[in-house]
């Protein structure tokens, strides 16, 4: 079970978030301040921190946490929305959610971060595909056979899986997979996407797994 450390001094909000996230299947440890934070760090998968807290503020706690556990994603959850605050928060935190947030939004952000940090542990079901990100195995459920990808196709698909539900531009994809800056007019990416679609799509001319978002880029949606 995913263990989330939640630090919030407002009882009402704290209670609400704890209840909601527990209902969504997470184990929540809710603390009113960062005082005893250290004792939970070892077992925590993700931390949600308020900024305005009694004693040490959320920024200081976050920095301290990131230092001792750099692999634990941090979401700042604050009613402070000034640009300076956001920038200060994002210097160490992985996301900055402002109040009043919708619990669905918070849950979505938690999922994105968990996927980014622990994406290997789950089994994904996307359309007709079953994906084991740990060893990047892809099964076509309809045909009950494994799909084998070549090096670049593999990396490309892995990049999509790591950024599930996000729309990625050509530049982002190219730079993320090839590690070089994208030159306008380069067809390499298009060619690789076409090959990838031929392998994973049921009907490559009407793709459903890798969606084309016209004018922006591509998306793999769960």
């Amino acid at each position: 079970m995913i263990h989330i450390l939640y630090i919030e001094d407002d009882k009402e909000i704290g209670h609400w978030v704890t209840t909601d996230l527990t209902e969504r299947g997470y184990k929540i440890t809710w603390l009113p301040s960062g005082e005893n934070m250290e004792s939970y760090l070892a077992s925590v998968d993700l931390a949600i921190l308020d900024v305005m807290l009694p004693g040490l503020d959320g920024f200081s706690l976050g920095k301290r946490l990131k230092k001792s556990a750099p692999d634990t994603p941090i979401i700042m959850l604050s009613a402070r929305t000034a640009v300076e605050d956001r920038l200060e928060g994002l210097r160490f935190a992985d996301d900055y959610v402002t109040k009043p947030f919708h619990p669905d939004e918070l849950a979505a952000r938690i999922e994105v971060l968990l996927r980014r940090f622990q994406w290997k542990d789950e089994v994904l079901e996307i359309k007709h595909l079953q994906i084991y990100p740990k060893d990047m195995r892809i099964i076509n459920k309809n045909k009950e056979e494994e799909i084998l990808l070549t090096g670049k196709q593999y990396h490309l698909f892995q990049y999509f899986i790591r950024h599930l539900n996000q729309i990625l531009t050509k530049e982002q994809l190219y730079e993320g997979v090839w590690g070089e800056s994208y030159i306008e007019g380069d067809k390499t990416l298009m060619v690789h996407i076409r090959y990838l679609r031929e392998k994973i799509e049921e009907n490559p001319s009407a793709p459903t797994v890798i969606e084309t978002i016209r004018g922006i880029g591509y998306r793999v949606k769960q």
């Binding site: 407002d10 009402e12 909601d20 000034a82 640009v83 009043p100 919708h102 729309i167 004018g215 922006i216």
Partner: protein, 454 residues
């Protein structure tokens, strides 16, 4: 009083007084020197009462009483006089006009004398220098001549005495010249210090404030420097105060917005709890309405905060060179799913611009786009259409945000769009860009324009 003596005024007064006194003193000194001092200088002939008259008399006297007019006799006579007058020269021309005897350096004396020579000699010596006495003896004996430079019979300062007027004028001129030089140096130094002061005043610290100047003297310029330093200190203090106020103001706005959002979050919690209750259609509807209001409220607080900061020019601005098409596209990607969920037709068509790199703050660009897209989502929802495209012309590059809503006029019933657009306006202008808005009942087009620099 002590300060007065340190002042430039006192120095200059002193200079003038010295100059005036110097003129007086010099005049008196020269006069005293010429008239008084010169008279006291001794002349050994004059002291003994010998002057030109006595010399002339005794030369004639002795010539007429010369007992033996022979070479020895004359020689002896000359030697006696030479003893008394070492500077003198003497010679004897006999009755035949032959130069017979001569003592002292006198080379231009003719050895044979004619009447013409005698006349020209007399003419040249008459009232001239050296002082000359010619004593005629018997016809056969000729004449003896005594010559002595007039200087020997004059006071040493006689020539000075003669040129008193010229000396006085030259002396005074020298003093005036000295005065001019000293004055020039005096003012030159003041001018140099003033120029130096001016330069020092123009130097700016890293924070844009002038720096304090080291005060070396306590005169008027020194006081000016001191006052300037005082001003710098006050300026610094006031800047600090201003920064402190700015910080407090920002802090206040941030805290206020925080304090407003906290109860809003609680409202959201309540509304969410209501929506979770099954089966009651009306409650669900109420919860949805509440959610919309919470979102509006949230946006209004955000806009109000931004508006306050922008009007006070306190909204952080950090320009950098960004690839606009890429940046806008990536930002649109974050909005895409929102419009998708609302069932919008999304039409994005972005081509490369003439100048794709813009010097802007990406945070501001995001904020401008957020406000425009938020407006479309909130106020042009009935059109269910959003289009973002680029336009590149010879004079400008632009991004167009198009909707098919009922137009901006109808939106006036909801004031939220107004403040949102005000922020767009301030931010666009703050980034040195332009914008246009065209609205009809068939939709609204907002154009963010970057004119090419000529």
């Amino acid at each position: 009083m002590r300060n007065f003596f340190r002042s430039l005024l006192a120095k200059y007064m002193l200079l003038i007084v010295i100059a005036i006194f110097l003129v007086q003193i010099a005049t008196i000194t020269i006069a005293l020197f010429v008239y008084g001092f010169a008279e006291n200088v001794e002349n050994r002939y004059l002291k003994k009462g010998i002057d030109t008259e006595t010399i002339e008399e005794s030369w004639h006297e002795e010539a007429s009483h010369l007992e033996q007019v022979s070479e020895e006799g004359i020689q002896q006579h000359f030697a006696e006089w030479k003893e008394d007058f070492p500077e003198a020269t003497m010679f004897w021309v006999d009755g035949a006009g032959i130069l017979r005897e001569q003592i002292g350096d006198n080379h231009d004396i003719p050895t044979e004398w004619t009447a013409r020579e005698a006349a020209s000699f007399i003419k040249s010596r008459y009232d001239g220098d050296p002082f000359t006495v010619i004593a005629l003896m018997d016809e056969a004996d000729g004449f003896i001549v005594f010559e002595i430079p007039r200087d020997a019979l004059q006071l040493p300062m006689q020539s000075v005495y003669d040129h008193y007027g010229e000396i006085l004028i030259i002396g005074l001129l020298l003093i005036v010249l000295l005065f001019i030089i000293v004055s020039f140096l005096f003012f030159h130094r003041i001018r140099k210090r003033l120029l130096h002061l001016q330069e020092a005043m123009e130097i700016r610290d890293v924070d844009g404030l002038p720096l304090a100047i080291p005060v070396k003297k306590k005169d008027e310029i020194g006081q000016l420097e001191q006052t300037f330093n005082q001003m710098v200190a006050e300026l610094r203090k006031s800047k600090q105060r201003e920064q402190e106020e700015e910080r407090l103001r920002k802090e206040l706005i941030a805290n206020l917005s925080h304090d407003l959002r906290t109860p809003l979050t609680k409202l959201r919690a309540q509304s969410y709890s209501i929506s979770k209750m099954d089966g009651n259609e009306e409650l669900n509807k109420a919860s949805q309405q509440l959610d919309v209001s919470i979102n509006d409220m949230d946006r209004l607080i955000e806009n109000l905060m931004s508006y306050t900061l922008l009007t006070a020019s306190k909204y952080q601005l950090k320009r950098e060179k960004i690839d606009m098409v890429r940046y806008v596209r990536e930002h649109l990607a974050t909005w895409y799913s929102v419009f998708e969920r609302e069932g919008f037709e999304i039409n994005i068509d972005m081509q490369s611009l003439n100048s794709s790199y813009w010097m802007v703050d990406p945070v501001w660009i995001s904020r401008i786009m957020d406000n425009l897209l938020q407006n479309i989502l909130r106020h042009a929802n009935e059109g269910k259409y959003v289009e973002v495209k680029t336009k590149a012309t010879e004079t400008y590059d632009a991004f167009l945000f198009i909707d098919k809503g009922s137009g901006i006029d109808k939106q006036s019933e909801y004031s939220g769009a107004g403040i949102g657009l005000s922020i767009v306006d301030m931010m666009v202008k703050g980034l040195n860009l332009d914008w246009e808005i065209r609205s009809s009942n068939k939709g609204t087009t907002v154009k963010i324009i970057n004119y090419h620099k000529k």
